[in-house]
Each structure stands twice: as structure tokens, then as C-alpha cells.
Symmetry: C2
Subunit: 407 residues, 2 copies
């Protein structure tokens, strides 16, 4: 019998009525002839309350104890969800991460899954019971409770789907699927029927934060079809899946906007081995995350100009670090351009289609939007534009690639 | 190194400042040269909130899922307590019932402890760390989370003390020890230095509800000295321990009052085998708990008069059951006397001292308090008096046995 894993996030189990709604959904999947595993998050707001409790007791709580504390949130949800399914007249059993044998390494608060012990799960599923698993949590080899960090419940769901060779992993969420662009910014945005793992990874990394990249990577690794759909409607959502030949017919799958980007440029650095590494080591030591890196030659190859972008809130610290670097290499102070936005287009079809970049740049030029920087990868083209032009640029690009049309 | 088990109830961990207070107490025991195990309950009010959550989802939640839900309360407390001990600069590790290997039967919501796996505990204690164990919870052989029911955290503490052969099990609570009588009713009541398990069992059963009988029985079985003391003071409390020869010098250890008792009397029942059993079967079928039972002969042994007492709130149902019984045996309707109070005196010294009952009856008679019924066991003498005389009767008896004087 096929297995379906359904994941419900914190807002989908925030109160009794939503828990009943989710329970009915699980029962429908059961009645549809599936073995059903539910993965649930802590009720919306619970985690914040637990973090606040810890803050009252300790300024810097030990990570092991934070995991012990936070894991209770999901445990409450699974018990309530089991009760809701019983109330609907069906059998269900709740299981913690430990009970489901989800073993992780010992990196508390952001543990990595090492293995899942499926026999207990399969035994209960074979009895026709719905299994409800606490997302986000596991145990290490010494039986300490661990949590998986951001996107943890998605990761639990995809990992279980992989271990059980599930037909699909359904992610029930606030939005009803993945769109060609953020519909709040681009009214013409269209819901996608399908998107490849690679495209979704770029979309996720670029700010379309429906799912955490880690869960998508896991899905890609094990070939788990991930169905992102709305928790309050029966409409099909978007399938994140392996690339199909048909997908390449579409050059651009979607477009994203990320705001509040700062670009740092260091000019005149010596073109010698180790210089670039030294710059980014200094940046990394301060815990600053770098997005794009761009380097060009200058002075006939004697020198290089090095640019990189960071999130706006890191501007102050990044400036200080860059000034230290400039002094060390005896070059001019860095040029800091804050208030930029990044527009990206993503599509596996780009690999086999020429002229995608030109089409994007022409469309922006026609609207007199200044391109500050360009960065590309195999399936992404990104440009930096002034923040004030960001939204308009997204709409222009969306239109230029006719993303509102089904292809 | 000696082991001390300290148990803190829900009100002793109700907020961050009380958690820090309890943590300091554990640290002092550690610095006093002990290995320290803390057992903590859910923060005051938590269990009620969880029960309310369950009630919102289901009218009759499955007991397995209630255990899954309720066990989170203690898990929150142990994590916070570990953080508080870290904050004080000492090492501590929190462990759930499952992690401490506390195995129970599968009777969800009122499971019985079967075994405790001490190696992990002992390993952590040997490292000089304070171990914090979630009270009230365990796992069955199939690794389902169970809870121990009323008095569960006390039971966990005493069971751990037994398994670790602890020097003592300290029960930190709202009151600073066991008194000769309830100090709110008898201002002269005196705190006891020591009391035997048997005396405490009678005192607990008779309404001096500091500790649940189950934990005391366990302490008696394994000879664990139980130190009941106040959580907010350093004063020694009361040691519940094996009877010592010295204890018998005191005839009466304490006196108790239980209010709101209803006595049911059935007169003229046939004195035949099985009649009494039939009466109490009928009562038990309705889930009515019977306290005392008194039977006397009548009509030269042809008949019996059967009396028993129940709690006042069971009066209505008990009356209905007793009337059914009366009809079945063709005797007069039962006599129902509501609004009685029971005064009891407890002491292992009674075994070797004559005249205790007479002294009690004389004292009550001198104050013109009418004795409605008498029931005795080896170390208890109880009388029923009109409810309005209850408090005065308790004071009279307390005075008659000079319980306010240290002996």
C-alpha cells in the first residue's frame, strides 16, 4: 500500500479547530487507500514561549537543555493530533523523534539526521493506524534529545518519506503552492504545477521561503516528490520533483526579489594567491554571511577589483571589516553601496537556451532600470538594481519571460 | 559518596526565581559532599493547561495520548532546572523518565514502576554532575510514555532513592514538615522530628495530605528515609523512617480531622454468608469508595447491623444504592447520617500501651462531644462526631495526649 507523508506546520496546528482540519485531511488520505504518516510542528507561538521561559532562567542556556525544552512543543502537538484523529473515529498513534528511531549526530540545536529506524513505524502503519511523528526532533546515539534547527519539521517529513519510500511528501502550509513570483508583488504571478529540486533550491535561497533548502536537498538526494500545498484547501499545489525533459521547454520557471542588499567593493587588491581567501576569512570570522562574489581584473592583470554582497543589517560590521582589510593590503577604503535589491530568474531550461541574459537586460533597460551588478550560475541570472526600482524590475522581468502564461 | 535525592513539587518550580532557589539548594547538597539527584514536577498550573488543551480537542482523550501530552510538563521543568544550575556555575544534566530507564507497566495515566536502569544515572553522578529527572513519568516495555498518576513525582523520587541506595529522599514542599495536627486547626500543633512509615501512611490516608500514600509505601518497602521539609527554609523538617524503639515511648504521634463524612446504616440484614459481600459489591459497582466499615450483631445473632462511611459528595448515589440493597434483602430503608467528622489518633506506641481509647473517649465526654461511631486498627483509633464539633474535638484530643509537648 502506498505511503503518504503529510507535514503540518505551526500555523496549521495553532488551535483545536485547525488540528481537527488537519486530522480530517489525514483521514481522507487514509480512506484514499494510503498508509499515512503525519509530521507536525509545535503549535504556533509555542516555541517562542519556551524560548522566553529559558531566557528568564538563563542568559545563555546550554544547547542540550534548549533541545530538551523545545522538543516538548512538538510532543504536545502529536498528542493533540492523535486525539483529534481518534475523535474522528480512526486509529492513530503519536511518536516522538526518539520513539520513531530518528537518530542524529550530537550537534544540539542543529543536528543532522543519521538514520531512521523504520520497523516500529511500518508495524503500526500495517495495522491501518495513522502515525503522527513529532517533527524537528531526534536523539543522538547516547539517547540525548536533539533538534534539527531551522526547517526541521520539513526535514523530518522528507527524511521519513525517503525512509518509507513514500509516494509523496505533502507540505501543508499557508500558501497554496510555489508561484512564478511573489503574488503580493506581482499580481500576474501564476502557481506552478511542478518545479525541479534545483530550481526550488535557488528559489528558496533567493527568498521565496516556503520551504527550507535543507529539506529540498534531502528530497533531491532521495528522489522524494514534495507536494507543497495549502492546508485549508483541496486544490493541488506545486510538485517539487526531479527534472523532466518537458521542464526544459520553459526557459525561466520563476523570478524572485530580495531586498536590502549591500554591495562592498575593494579596488586595487594585489592579484596574488591567497588575497581573496584572506578577505573572506576576515569576513567569516565576524560571522557575516556573504551572498554573491564578483571579481574582475584591473591594471592589466596586476590588480583585482573584488565585490561581494551582504544583507543590509550586516552593513556596519562589514564596513569595519572591509576597512581593516583595505588597510592591511594598503588600498583605498572600500566602496559601500547599500540599499540595493536583487532580481533573479531561475530555470533549468537556461542550460539549453541562449539569450536569456540579454532578454532580461533588454527588458530592464527599456524601463530605464540601472543594473548595478550581474551574477550568474547554471540556472540563475541575478542582477542588482537600486532598491527603489526592485518591485518594478521584478514585474518587468516577470512580463519579459511571459511567466503569467502557462507553457 | 552518599547520594541525596531532592524532589521539588510544582509550586517550588512555578517561576524562574523559585527554580533558581531550588537550584541553589541542590548545589548546597552537592557542596556538602553528596551526589545529587533532583526530581521535579511540572511548573505549577502547567498540567491544568495541558488538560484544558486536550479537552478542547477531544471529549474523551485516549490515555496513551494524555500521557504523551502531560509528560511534556515535567520535561520543560527539568530543562529549565538544568539551565538554572548551569547559571549557578555547576554541571547538570536533565533526563526524562525514558532516559533514566524508569520502566513501568502499560497502565497509562496510573502506571506502576517495574524497574529503574541506574547505570546511566550513576555514570553521570560519578562525573560530579547534578542529575535532574522528570518526575511522574516513565516508559513501558514498548517504549510508550506512561505517567504514574497522583503523587507520581513523590513516587519517582522515592523509587530513585531506593534504586541508588540514597542516604535520604528529601521532599521539598509548601509545608516545613509533618505536624501533630493541622496547625490551621490546632494552633498548639508541633512539628515532628520523626514519624514511622506506618504512622505516616495512616496520617496521609486520614487527610494530612503532604505526601501520597503510594510513595510512603515504597519508602517503607525499601527502607528509604524520607525527609519532608519546606522548600523556602533551611530548617530540618520531619523524617519519615523505620520505627525505632524510642518511637514506642510516644503513645500518640498525631491527630487528624476529616470532615464531610456520611454514615450509612443498614439494620436487620440476615446474618448469612455473602450478604456483606453483596452490599459492598453493589457499592463498588457504582465507583463509590468506602472508608470505615462497622458491623454488629442483632436479634441474638440472627441479624446484623451494617454501617459504613463514605465521603459527603457521594451521599446521593450511596443512598440510592443502599436503598436498592435494602429492597433486595427486604429490610428497612437505610439510615443516612450526613455531616459527620472523623477524629483519629495515630501512633505505633498504641501497640504496647493500654488505655489509649479510654483516654480519648473520656476527653471527648468531658467536653460533651457525642461519639457517633468508633473504629480502630492496630495504630489508629477513630471516632465519628457531629461535623460542628469536629474542630473542637481535634483540639481536645490533641490536648488530651499532650501532643504540643516534646517527648
Amino acid at each position: 500500500m502506498p505511503v503518504i507523508v503529510q507535514k503540518f506546520g505551526g500555523s496549521s496546528v495553532a488551535d483545536a479547530s485547525r488540528i481537527h482540519l488537519a486530522a480530517r485531511r489525514a483521514v481522507r488520505a487514509l480512506l484514499g487507500g494510503n498508509q499515512v504518516v503525519l509530521v507536525v510542528s509545535a503549535m504556533g507561538g509555542t516555541t517562542d514561549k519556551l524560548v522566553e521561559l529559558a531566557a528568564q532562567v538563563s542568559r545563555r542556556p546550554a544547547k542540550r537543555e534548549m533541545d530538551m525544552l523545545l522538543a516538548t512543543g512538538e510532543q504536545v502537538s502529536i498528542a493533540l493530533m492523535a486525539m483529534a484523529i481518534h475523535e474522528a473515529g480512526y486509529e492513530a498513534v503519536s511518536l516522538t523523534g526518539a520513539q520513531v528511531g530518528l537518530v542524529t549526530d550530537s550537534t544540539h540545536t542543529r543536528a543532522r539526521i543519521q538514520s531512521i529506524d523504520t520497523p516500529r513505524l511500518q508495524r503500526v502503519l500495517a495495522q491501518g493506524k495513522i502515525v503522527i511523528v513529532a517533527g524537528f526532533q531526534g536523539v543522538d546515539r547516547d539517547f540525548n534529545i536533539t533538534t534539527l534547527g531551522r526547517g526541521g519539521s520539513d526535514t523530518t517529513a522528507v527524511a521519513l518519506a525517503a525512509a518509507l519510500q513514500a509516494r509523496a511528501c505533502e507540505i501543508h502550509t499557508d500558501v497554496d503552492g510555489i508561484y512564478t513570483a511573489d503574488p503580493r508583488l506581482v499580481p500576474q504571478a501564476r502557481k506552478l504545477d511542478a518545479i525541479s529540486y534545483d530550481e526550488m533550491l535557488e528559489m528558496a535561497a533567493l527568498g521565496a521561503g516556503v520551504m527550507h533548502a535543507r529539506a529540498i536537498e534531502l528530497g533531491k538526494k532521495y528522489g522524494v516528490p514534495i507536494h507543497v500545498r495549502g492546508s485549508s484547501s483541496d486544490n493541488p499545489g506545486t510538485m517539487i520533483m526531479n527534472e523532466t525533459p518537458g521542464m526544459e521547454g520553459v526557459v525561466v520557471r520563476g523570478a524572485t526579489l530580495k531586498r536590502d542588499i549591500t554591495r562592498v567593493t575593494l579596488a586595487g587588491l594585489p592579484n596574488e594567491p591567497g588575497v581573496t581567501a584572506a578577505v573572506f576569512e576576515a569576513v567569516a570570522e565576524h560571522g557575516i554571511l556573504v551572498d554573491d562574489i564578483m571579481q574582475t581584473l584591473a591594471d592589466g592583470g596586476e590588480k583585482v577589483t573584488l565585490g561581494f554582497t551582504v544583507e543590509g543589517r550586516e552593513t556596519g560590521e562589514t564596513r569595519a571589516v572591509a576597512e581593516l582589510v583595505a588597510r592591511r593590503f594598503n588600498v583605498d577604503n572600500p566602496d559601500i553601496a547599500a540599499d540595493l535589491a536583487r532580481i533573479s530568474v531561475v530555470g533549468v531550461g537556461m542550460r539549453s537556451h541562449a539569450g536569456v541574459a540579454a532578454r532580461m537586460f533588454n527588458a530592464l533597460a527599456a524601463e530605464k532600470i540601472k543594473i548595478e551588478n550581474i551574477a550568474t550560475s547554471e540556472i540563475v541570472i541575478s542582477v542588482l538594481v537600486p532598491a527603489d526600482d526592485g518591485e518594478r524590475a521584478l514585474q518587468v522581468v516577470h512580463q519579459a519571460f511571459e511567466l503569467d502564461q502557462t507553457k
